[in-house]
Assembly symmetry: C2
Homo-oligomer: 483 residues x 2
Amino acid sequence: MTGDPARGPSTLLTGGVRAVNIGLAGFAEPIRTHGGACAQVEWRPPAEGDRALGLLLARLEDDPDDPFGAQVARANAEAVRRIVEGRPVAVDVRTAVEAIPGMGARTLLHAGPPITWERMCGPMRGAAIGAMLLEGWAATPAEAEALADRGAVEFAPCHEHATVGPMAGIVSPSMPVIVVENQAFGNRAFSNLNEGIGKMLRYGAYDEAVLERLRWFAATLGPALGRTLRASPVDLRDLTARALQMGDECHNRNVAGTSILIRTIAPALVRAAPDDAAAALEFMRGNDHFYLNFSMAACKATLDAAHGIDGSTVVTAMARNGVEFGIRVGGTGGAWFTAPAGVPDGLYFPGYGAQDANPDIGDSAITETCGIGGFAMAAAPAIVRFIGGTPADAIAYTRAMYRITLTRSQAYGIPSLGFAGTPTAIDVRRVVESGVVPIIDTGIAHRLPGMGQIGAGITAAPYGCFTAALRALGRRLGLEEAA
Amino acid sequence: MTGDPARGPSTLLTGGVRAVNIGLAGFAEPIRTHGGACAQVEWRPPAEGDRALGLLLARLEDDPDDPFGAQVARANAEAVRRIVEGRPVAVDVRTAVEAIPGMGARTLLHAGPPITWERMCGPMRGAAIGAMLLEGWAATPAEAEALADRGAVEFAPCHEHATVGPMAGIVSPSMPVIVVENQAFGNRAFSNLNEGIGKMLRYGAYDEAVLERLRWFAATLGPALGRTLRASPVDLRDLTARALQMGDECHNRNVAGTSILIRTIAPALVRAAPDDAAAALEFMRGNDHFYLNFSMAACKATLDAAHGIDGSTVVTAMARNGVEFGIRVGGTGGAWFTAPAGVPDGLYFPGYGAQDANPDIGDSAITETCGIGGFAMAAAPAIVRFIGGTPADAIAYTRAMYRITLTRSQAYGIPSLGFAGTPTAIDVRRVVESGVVPIIDTGIAHRLPGMGQIGAGITAAPYGCFTAALRALGRRLGLEEAA
């Protein structure tokens, strides 16, 4: 009746073709060529076309009359309850060695599933070298490499120490870490402080500017934030919910989260650290990603409380070390199910391209695991300017993720979807059955040490992680894969 | 291909009926009854069905071969250029009497077109009483009323002093005002500081808590912000653009704008006013509308530069005094074209309803005049929780406004419309011709003095203002209304 179709800025609103292409990417091209919007979702045939896996899947379906089906249903209901009721609150910033249980004086934590120094990718090696220089364990990059070569550094996954770190995820003992307490269940999780975008330690850079910033974190920013949060804890569930109303998905876009965080803590920061407040506020003002690490630690604290429930098929971690992608599942204990990490599909900074990109890296996929990040992309249409695609793609990605999740968040509503809750609690069964894999939006690191960030884009969790997890769960429940 | 229609949270996304009803509201009901989304846009028959007005409209259409048509086209092109190129920057906070040209020691500025004390509505009288108490001109409300009754106070419209004030818009000499400089054209505009939501002076409340807050503004907050902005001016075009990416429309929703403003000025504030910074940051943190008055002053500075161009049919102000709605047009000098103000249609705070509401009031419609506010509602889907309606309505309102505007903002993109610019530069001709009138989202004041805000909603500019303006423009150009 009104509105002018000829002016229509978006096919979403003018009734043009909107499609989601699942599987072979080639089918999307004709649609795009003719002006339609088409989001690409990774897909493979259900259960890999594997009869044994298909039968296992059938045995694990919710079924009150079947002992296995009933156990899985109960376990998942409990996992969902714990995720939905999680109440992550930022309560402190402390050095890693003080705060993180099991963190030794010669430990370096890293992103993703376990990996040895020898197998680490360029950016992770670069970040580890930088951390060794920062800690004073080595005076030069060559000395640092020699130290690691002779096994004098203990490497361990962040995730196995209730910690998450973006990209390389290197956390060394003296680094200040955000302490997030899940006030519903009593557990704590940790993350380092975000350095900003570009040439940074977490992307494998370790020049003097990088180290100088980290020294200032340890000497000034960390202690100031610690005093602030001890005096005035910040409810991160509430903060993330507000950021999702303001165009963030709280993984690759944190403009609103960072702004709200600054606004929230500024008065207490001025009181707690009057001499350092201006510099701390200035640093945070200049870093639109400052909230990312708070968001990640909040997700980790939430999901750790839902881990370790026998029979649960809910994914409790997705993480990448730059070589392998790994997942952990609620009902399979500490096991990691891994597959080779892919290279994200995205937009590169000027002068760089896919040939420079390291495979997918970082613990930041904890956000998607918790139902935000890529899963909440419909809340963040402006993110497509950073990672590629259109606002219609962003909505399509979120909608696709409803197929593989067990619930919708009560806390996290998406305005453009009529305030529907974000797709939450990834179910391994649904991934294996549908062939739709979790999507993740992420930064892209240069593949060489010492370089830094070169872009941002979209990636997908490898399907093989989920089939392996399902098989392990079957074995753990005493189910043989039927013939 | 994917997505589950049965789960679809919004008719916008599931292919259900989406309609915009123009004119008689009754036609929208059957659509809504059957689950469709329907936004209501005010409408009347073109040119009121008036033949003379229709012929005048035809003479004023853009036409290079017609002297009148060519002049209008040239004038509007210049007006659009000045609006688009406007560069409002917050440079200072000073007392009104220091900053505002023509502000006398016994002047009270008020919202909307000119009005005498005798004809003022309840909330405006209440605010004026509060300002007289604040200034020390009277010791009691009765003394204040007596003072005004005997003509000892000079009332003048904010708009005639390059100033805008939300709701009652009362600005008294000692109040601190934001100074916005349009750095593209050199003019300045002013607004007072936002008090917060609820029982506030601008809604007609004047109890001791209201006055105490205003004294703190004058003694502490205003001077602290003045020192801050003099040291570090803030580009408001850039800030508004970012807020529109974050779910604000910068009239009735200012959560993002307030957060970004705090983030932007916090370091300079700590340096400029170390002793008052914590209290100032705490006040701003608690007031999600703090950015509104910055947004309004920025729009006023932008539009004033586009005023006073002979032949221009572009609206340069829309404002309400609680009794009348008035507009000013670029080509008709200082004249106001007025019509009775309507009561907004919206959501009320608990315990209040339409019977308690004052007619539409405030200068805040300067935001819609500048292409944001209600015109940018598609950028702020979450606002419907505050003013009523659905996110689909928000998009429909913005789309309808493209019909009556001359351009799309280069600076202000709307993510949900594929980053299309907001509808900017209202053309009196298009309003008269189409019968579509500008929509405004606004707060609702109690009709009695001393009460305060009782809700928020949607209202529309009266059609009669635009026909009157068009006729005046015709007379000014020497065009007789043809028979």
